[in-house]
């Protein structure tokens, strides 16, 4: 129901298509259409639409359309998608636009480039090449840090490590892992009509439990890992439940409660890391916990250099689980119904309050799991470095992924790549790592504004792209 808000306008457009002459590119501009068989692709929507329009007069038009449909192969469907700016195309163009703007910021904050541009009219070539130099060095370092470094291949031929070739990619996956889970947390709440700004507090809730279970309890190897993961989920779920329960019982707005809980849990984290009786590493002045036991650490797949840990698989499993929950289960249907229209859900006999509580509980659990895989999979110790900014980044990941599990995974991988490449870029070119944050923000901004992207790239009006109806106002 709320899945495809564009469904209604698209349907009315097709009705007209059935009676008029076939217009080019009238097929459904959804990403699914390239996968359809050539015969039904593109024309499928039109033929179906002529059904309701349904008189004998239309038969000729319909068959003519089917004839045309044969010529619409995969290439045509792709072209349609591009001309109309399907969600996928808009997302790709948004990424490109953000990278271009990021490049301009990099170039024009470089003093060498600014000096060269000061004498633009006497030496325009020098100015442009200086700007290009600045951009190319930064972005190639970003790419080498995030995806693939050509030098590692050459080194592998001369006796170097083959695993090193995959090191950047594994770094990306490792950076993406907690983002997938906090992104899923925010996305799940969105689907139930709740805005979970509190993934950061739920992350802390999970991480504190995991760290405690990790170093203070001794259990057999595999069981220890599982108990820690479950503890992380539970720790986050309690924080989420608190928010949902307060909203259901008293009407306290989840945005205020989650913002406040973020501060409270941040202070609690400082407190437990500052208190030797709690989680502080003994004889330490810094705010850092002991390492968790080796039994509780998540193993890596394929040895240390490629750091794709089991944590990444846990994150993917969580995404798959959330997909099943939302799309295949009754509970998920209730989530989506309450998210789309709480009054209608209540009229249909669903308990809006219970749904809020359950959705926040699961959302909190996912964010707590993010804390668990961060501690168990990469840092092994709880401190403010491992805390990072996963909670807030989860919001942008969920938005970029359009609150869909698969979208969240892809968005987290993109942000993970930027986060993995950022330090390499900063080390190689002294471009501050914050540019990654700017690019991330620009990407989400452009993805959220399909009309802008369409205007810039002269795409035609599309139906049902964009992020309509993910989040709502305060009263929703």
């Amino acid at each position: 129901m709320s899945d495809d808000p564009g469904g209604v306008p698209a349907g009315s457009g097709q009705d007209q298509g059935g009676t008029e002459n076939p217009r080019p590119g009238d097929g459904p501009a959804s990403p699914a259409s390239p996968a359809d068989p050539a015969g039904s692709a593109g024309a499928g929507g039109d033929a179906a639409a002529s059904g309701p329009a349904g008189s004998a007069d239309d038969q000729g038009d319909a068959s003519a359309e089917r004839g045309l449909g044969r010529f619409r192969g995969l290439d045509r469907a792709i072209l349609d998608a591009i001309i109309h700016g399907s969600p996928t195309v808009v997302t790709i163009l948004a990424v490109i636009s953000a990278l271009v703007l990021g490049a301009l910021i990099i170039a024009f904050s470089d003093t060498a480039v600014l000096h060269a541009w000061a004498s633009f009219f006497s030496a325009p070539g020098a100015a442009i090449s200086a700007a290009w130099q600045s951009i190319a060095s930064a972005y190639s370092a970003l790419f080498e840090g995030a995806i693939f470094n050509p030098h590692t291949v050459a080194a592998a031929f001369h006796g170097g490590s083959v695993g090193a070739i995959f090191y950047p990619l594994s770094e990306t996956a490792s950076e993406a892992t907690p983002l997938v889970l906090t992104g899923l947390s925010v996305a799940l709440a969105f689907r139930a009509g709740l805005f979970n700004i509190g993934a950061a507090s739920q992350w802390i809730g999970g991480a504190i439990v995991v760290t405690y279970l990790g170093f203070a309890v001794s259990l057999p190897p595999v069981i220890h890992v599982i108990v820690c993961l479950a503890g992380g989920f539970a720790g986050g779920a309690v924080m989420g439940w608190l928010v949902g329960d307060l909203k259901a019982r008293t009407g306290a707005h989840e945005v205020i409660v989650t913002i406040m809980l973020n501060y409270i849990m941040y202070d609690l984290l400082s407190y437990v890391l500052d208190t030797p009786k709690a989680l502080q590493l003994p004889h330490q002045a810094n705010l850092i916990s002991p390492n968790i036991a080796a039994d509780a650490q998540l193993p890596h797949v394929g040895g240390p250099p490629p750091q794709v840990g089991v944590g990444f698989l846990v994150a993917l499993a969580a995404a798959a689980g959330m997909w099943w929950l939302l799309e295949r289960s009754t509970t998920g249907f209730e989530f989506r119904t309450v998210g789309a229209n709480p009054s209608a859900a209540r009229t249909a006999g669903m308990s809006v309050q219970k749904t809020w509580i359950l959705a926040m509980l699961l959302a909190g659990g996912l964010a707590g799991l993010s804390g668990a895989v961060t501690i168990q999979g990469s840092f092994y110790s709880l401190n403010f470095q491992s805390y990072g900014t996963y909670g807030i980044d989860g919001i942008t990941v969920a938005l970029l992924g359009r609150a869909r599990p698969a979208g969240v995974v892809l968005a987290a991988l993109l942000f993970g790549a930027l986060n993995a490449g950022g330090p390499v870029m900063e080390a190689a070119t002294s471009v501050p790592i914050d540019i990654a944050e700017v690019i991330e923000g620009l990407i989400v901004l452009f993805v959220a504004a399909p009309p802008l992207i369409r205007a810039v790239f002269r795409l035609r009006e599309a139906r049902g792209s964009g992020m309509e109806a993910i989040a709502k106002g305060w009263n929703g």
Binding site: A252, I264, P432, E437, G473, N475
Partner: protein, 426 residues
């Protein structure tokens, strides 16, 4: 539709009285059982004069334990009254204020009689000055939120407006050397974000909650980037602003107690006074305000009678952004002079909470912002007398209090009906 909505809300309203009463009683019990039982013998001292003031007001000595018990019992009685008697709106609000005040007083009495306090008096003037100073960015940010949301556009980008205002003010004031230009440019920077918010929300129909979060991310990244790239290498030129000095208002500034608190401060406090009055009176007593509220509640009706819906939204967001920009400028050229990364540190989100807490009214938002400001000032006072509580636990107090207040006392709030919904003419 309305009937359904009423049905949805009915059980919550029925519970409200009980929840509020229980909250009051809980506050009272904390007063008695924690602050009362654990307070030391002796008097707490409240001082009302700054060191070296011309006219001194005698300090007040209060026996801690009996008074704390009395305050707690009073809170419990108010709670019982709340559960049994139907009170008017004014009385309800007064009772909330009284219980919170009693709670804070009990806490102060407890803290000032302990051995750790060592006879240091509670200086009410310093405490209040700290409250106002901490509240300035919150109030201006919350007013920016009111301006936008009363016209129907959600503004989560207050954080970004504060941060960019702080950044621009510091850079301009140090590069040019004129503080006033720093203030002006900080304000314009906030207005610029307001314009960006308006453009994307109104012209490109971007979901407004997403938009605000993204703008905050963007501004945090951009200012962090420029800070590392330009400000750090050349800090003397770009990040070395002076700060506004305090201006004492003649006559009013000489009044004992009140003068030093309210009328002896930087220009920012006076701008804040003016902004509160202008927005409150403007929104509720002028034709402009009526139009703004009409646009925020029912834009199509407003459009029908000839109000320029989109024009009002653009204007309000830009003006609100300029207010928040001044609040941001305060963070640099009003207090410390230099910009540091992410220095707004979530104040924008607290301003947002204050606006919701204050039910989208400028005065309510101001009071909520003052509450946050007070807890900040209280935290630094308690830190200075080294109360035997971890500073981190003390730091939680304002946020816990907010959750209790929002859940127990405020409950379900109603935003302007068209808040967050883009307006498209039929």
């Amino acid at each position: 539709m309305t009937a359904i909505v009423a049905a949805v809300r009915a059980p919550i309203v029925a519970n409200r009285r009980l929840i509020a009463a229980v909250t009051f009683v809980a506050f009272g019990l904390i007063d008695i059982l924690i602050f009362g039982l654990f307070s030391h013998k002796g008097d707490a001292t409240f001082a009302f004069s700054l060191f070296g003031a011309k006219v001194t007001v005698p300090s007040l000595h209060v026996p801690a334990r009996p008074v704390t018990y009395a305050l707690g019992i009073a809170s419990v009685l108010i709670g019982v009254a709340r559960a049994t008697v139907t009170e008017s709106k004014l009385l309800k609000r007064l009772s909330i204020a009284a219980v919170l005040l009693f709670f804070v007083l009990a806490m102060l009495l407890w803290s000032d009689t302990g051995s750790w306090a060592d006879g240091i008096p509670i200086n009410v003037i310093t405490l209040m000055q700290g409250t106002l100073a901490a509240s300035i960015p919150l109030i201006l940010g919350a007013l920016a939120g009111c301006m936008g949301e009363r016209s129907g556009v959600i503004n989560i980008a207050i954080e970004g407006q504060l941060l960019l205002g702080a950044f621009t003010a510091a850079v301009v004031a140090s590069a040019v050397g004129v503080l006033w230009l720093g203030l002006l440019s900080g304000s314009l920077a906030g207005g610029l974000i307001g314009a960006m918010l308006a453009l994307f929300a109104i012209r490109f129909l971007v979901d407004q909650i997403i938009l605000g979060v993204v703008i905050n991310l963007l501004i945090s990244g951009l200012t962090g980037y420029l800070y590392d790239r330009l400000l750090v290498p050349d800090a003397n030129t770009y990040n070395n602003a002076s700060t506004f000095s305090t201006v004492k208002i003649p006559v009013l500034g000489d009044i004992p107690v009140i003068g030093p608190i309210f009328f002896d401060s930087t220009i920012f406090l006076y701008i804040t006074y003016a902004a509160i009055i202008l927005v409150q009176v403007g929104l509720f007593s002028t034709r402009w305000g009526l139009r703004v509220r009409a646009v925020g509640e029912h834009p199509s009706a407003a459009d029908t009678v000839g109000i320029n819906v989109l024009g009002i939204r653009y204007r309000n967001l830009i003006l609100g952004g300029m207010l928040a920009g001044i609040g941001g400028a305060y963070l640099t050229i009003g207090s410390v002079g230099t910009f540091s990364k992410d220095m707004s540190s979530g104040l924008g989100y607290i301003a947002l909470a204050a606006m919701i807490f204050g039910r989208w009214t400028p005065l309510g938002a101001t009071l909520a912002a003052l509450l946050f400001g007070f807890t900040t000032a209280l935290g630094s006072f308690l830190g200075s007398i080294t109360v035997p509580i971890s500073p981190f636990i003390l730091g939680m107090a304002p946020y816990v209090a907010t959750i209790i207040a929002v859940a127990g006392l405020v409950g379900r709030v109603r935003a302007p009906a068209a808040d967050g919904k883009p307006y498209l003419r039929e």
